[in-house]
């Protein structure tokens, strides 16, 4: 804007070499944010995610009960799978209030769903973080080294991709033993090839470009080139892929918990809660519905944000 046709005489003074670099970097970020916020679906995703994050952080404050304690131990009357009782909606005041009812162990379902937000958000972010770190390292090595190591690493990635991810994850967890951490590790391992491919592609696309040759000529080390020249270029697809990956990771870890090898009881994890109360389903459907809606909301928020980021960062769509 300021370059073209502003008659203001002071404008050119602001165009020193140092000043042009910084504003441009921030403006890309700002522009992305603006493009994301322009999309209704991405805004919906952000709102849901903010809501879930607040719930996760303040779970101990909001939750009326300890998620792991049975009403039996508290001396509060109730039976297995009691339906929701909300005083505001006409539930008799002499009955104890349970917004989402009681689960099969007489625990307050609402408190468990709240605490489940902590588990699932953490699971999604940590799992994808692990996949990204290992995956980008492998992809960077493969792309940078080329030749035999590239071939071996990428063929290994091909083999991993040739399994449906949940099946491979199940096979890995049966080796590692059941548990939330092992489940996360398995889902993380399974996601490595995707990030390795993205990173390798980015490395290959800029490895021979002039600015990389220039930095090499100026004596920058390989590590420096990778960190300062190549990684920033790969960041955009990694962020998009990672955001979408968080939703997938939450779904898959919940599925592992559902088949009994992810989060183990009594941990309040949504998938494990559904698995635990499955037998009560026909008499107490709320025990499936509430954690189910919670999983869907969490996954939906990351999917919407991921789609929004992709559209916002796609230069072809820039208006």
């Amino acid at each position: 804007m300021s370059l073209s046709g502003t008659p203001d005489a002071r404008a050119p003074l602001a165009l020193g070499a140092e000043t042009t670099v910084t504003p441009k970097a921030t403006s890309l970020r700002k522009e992305t944010a603006r493009n994301v916020l322009r999309q209704k679906s991405a805004v919906v995703g952000l709102v849901i995610l903010t809501f879930l994050t607040v719930v996760a952080i303040f779970a101990p404050v909001i939750a009326p009960f300890d998620p792991d304690v049975s009403m039996l131990d508290l001396g509060i009357p109730g039976t297995r799978g009691d339906p929701p009782c909300i005083h505001l909606l006409g539930c008799p005041v002499d009955q104890p209030q349970h917004i989402m009812g009681l689960d099969s162990n007489l625990r307050d379902e609402f408190s468990r769903v709240l605490f489940g937000a902590r588990v699932s958000l953490l699971v999604g972010i940590v799992t994808v973080g692990f996949g990204i770190v290992i995956g980008t390292t492998i992809g960077a090595i493969a792309g940078f080294a080329g030749g035999a190591s590239d071939n071996i690493l990428m063929r290994l990635m091909d083999v991993m991709l040739s399994f449906p991810s949940l099946i491979l994850a199940i096979a890995i967890v049966t080796v590692l033993g059941p548990g939330l951490v092992n489940g996360m590790l398995a889902i993380g391992i399974v996601s490595i090839p995707i990030y390795a491919r993205v990173m390798r592609g980015s490395v290959l696309s800029v490895r021979e470009s002039d600015f990389v040759t220039a930095s090499r000529a100026m004596g920058e080390s390989s590590r420096g080139i990778l960190a300062r020249r190549i990684l920033p270029n790969a960041l955009t697809p990694l962020i998009v892929q990672g955001t979408l990956g968080i939703g997938g990771a939450i779904l898959e870890v919940a599925a592992l918990s559902f088949v009994g090898i992810g989060a183990l009881p009594p941990l309040a994890e949504w998938g494990a809660m559904i698995a635990g109360d499955r037998n009560l389903f026909f008499s107490a459907p709320h025990l499936i519905l509430f954690p189910g809606i919670a999983i869907t909301l969490a996954v939906l928020s990351f999917n919407l944000i991921g789609d929004g980021l992709r559209d916002a960062l796609d230069p072809r769509l820039n208006r």
Binding site: S41, R155, L156, D158, V159, M160, S162, F163, P164, S165, L166, I167, L168, I170, A171, I172, T174, V175, G247, L251, A254, A255, F258, V259, G260, I261, G271, I274, R278, F281, F282, P285, I288, L289, P291, G292, I295, T296, L297, V299, L300, N303, L304
Partner: protein, 358 residues
């Protein structure tokens, strides 16, 4: 064309080797002595001696791999710890259930998904488009097992005494029995591979009742398949609908479509004959790629609807710590996935000449 197919088949051989190698490695890194780790309390000295002999546990690791590879290639996936029967036999019996469920779910996902995608793309930003895309977003975000349980509740409990009631469990109503094709056709003397193939198709009840004309039984089988197929098919359906929409929108903006419109073709003809032909290519790929989602969905769905297929077998193997069965299912599923993707690639090349030439 033949060259492309041969090259594509050759290139999947290393991947096949890799799959078997990876499962072999996973089976070997189980902590502790492999025999006691695999058989747990049942690890008597006799069982362990047989185990060691089978896998050559006293030989170098690469030799063990060769032995393992040899037996897998010959179709020997070991003996189930829980059932005491060859894994291959168990899977041959149960695979048809999963194949049938996957085919029905695939048909449902493809037909509904492509229709919704076309409606969305041709009525861009209309209420129909917006609601379809909202549903598609919800569809990909809902866990298969939650959807399955909710469907079972709605159709088997809430709608129990209405004409819309659907059974929540099993393959047929209790009391209904479907005779194997070998019996119906008087081929009981058949043995070996032909008999195996006949039994495989015979155990796909839709196929069985269809070719023998048992219409009442066919209706019963289909009624039992509706809910699981919707549960398995929903995530791929949502993906297919989104893909069809974006792909068709892109194609409809091209010059040749404008030409078709300019020469006065009816809109339906422009979309179906001109637009869809090109827009469907990426959709075919996506359908092939979602086979993983179908298989993962089948694992979770079969346990909910009590269908004894690969998924339920895997589920039971997990809770029974039946490692041999888990490995067998893993290999079979991965190989099936590999083969289907091969077929998709080849059909893609048949449809689009640019691919086989590059």
């Amino acid at each position: 064309m033949t060259r492309f197919i041969v090259r594509r088949i050759l290139s999947s051989i290393p991947v096949l080797l890799g799959i078997i190698f990876l499962v072999f490695v996973l089976a070997r890194v189980i902590p502790g002595d492999p025999c006691t780790a695999t058989y747990g309390e049942k690890a008597t000295p006799e069982i362990c001696a047989a185990f060691a002999a089978r896998f050559g546990l006293d030989r170098p690791i690469w030799e063990q791999f060769v032995i393992y590879f040899g037996s897998v290639i010959q179709g020997d996936l070991g003996t189930s710890i829980k059932f005491g029967r060859p894994v291959t036999e168990i899977l041959a019996e149960r695979l048809p259930v999963t194949v049938e469920l996957t085919i029905i779910a695939l048909a449902f996902a493809a037909i509904v998904g492509i229709t919704l995608g076309v409606v969305s793309a041709t009525r861009r930003n209309s209420p129909a488009d917006v609601s379809t895309m909202i549903l598609a977003n919800l569809g990909v975000s809902t866990p298969v097992f939650v959807l399955g349980l909710v469907l079972a509740f709605v159709f088997a409990v809430l709608l129990r005494d209405t004409p819309f009631a659907l059974p929540p469990s099993g393959r047929v109503t209790a009391g209904v029995s479907i005779a194997p094709l070998a019996v119906t056709w008087g081929l009981e003397s058949l043995e070996g591979v032909p008999r195996g193939i006949l039994d495989f198709f015979s155990n796909m009840y839709v196929f069985n009742t269809l070719v023998t004309g048992q219409w009442a039984e066919l209706a019963d089988v289909l009624r039992h398949l509706i809910l699981p197929a919707i549960a398995v098919g929903t995530i791929p359906l949502a993906i297919i609908a989104r893909m069809t929409r974006s792909s068709l929108l892109e194609v409809l903006g091209l010059d040749y479509v404008r030409t078709a419109r300019a020469k006065g073709l009816r809109e339906r003809s422009v979309v179906v004959r001109h637009g869809m032909r090109n827009a469907l290519l990426p959709v075919v790929t996506i359908i092939g790629l979602s086979l993983g989602a179908f298989l993962s969905g089948a694992i979770l769905t079969e346990t909910i609807f009590n269908l004894t297929g690969m998924g339920k077998t895997l589920f039971e193997a997990i809770s029974g710590r039946d490692y041999i069965v888990i490995q067998g299912v893993t290999i079979v599923v991965a190989v099936a996935y590999l083969v289907v993707n091969l077929v998709v690639d080849v059909s893609y090349a048949v449809l689009d000449p640019r691919i086989r030439l590059s």
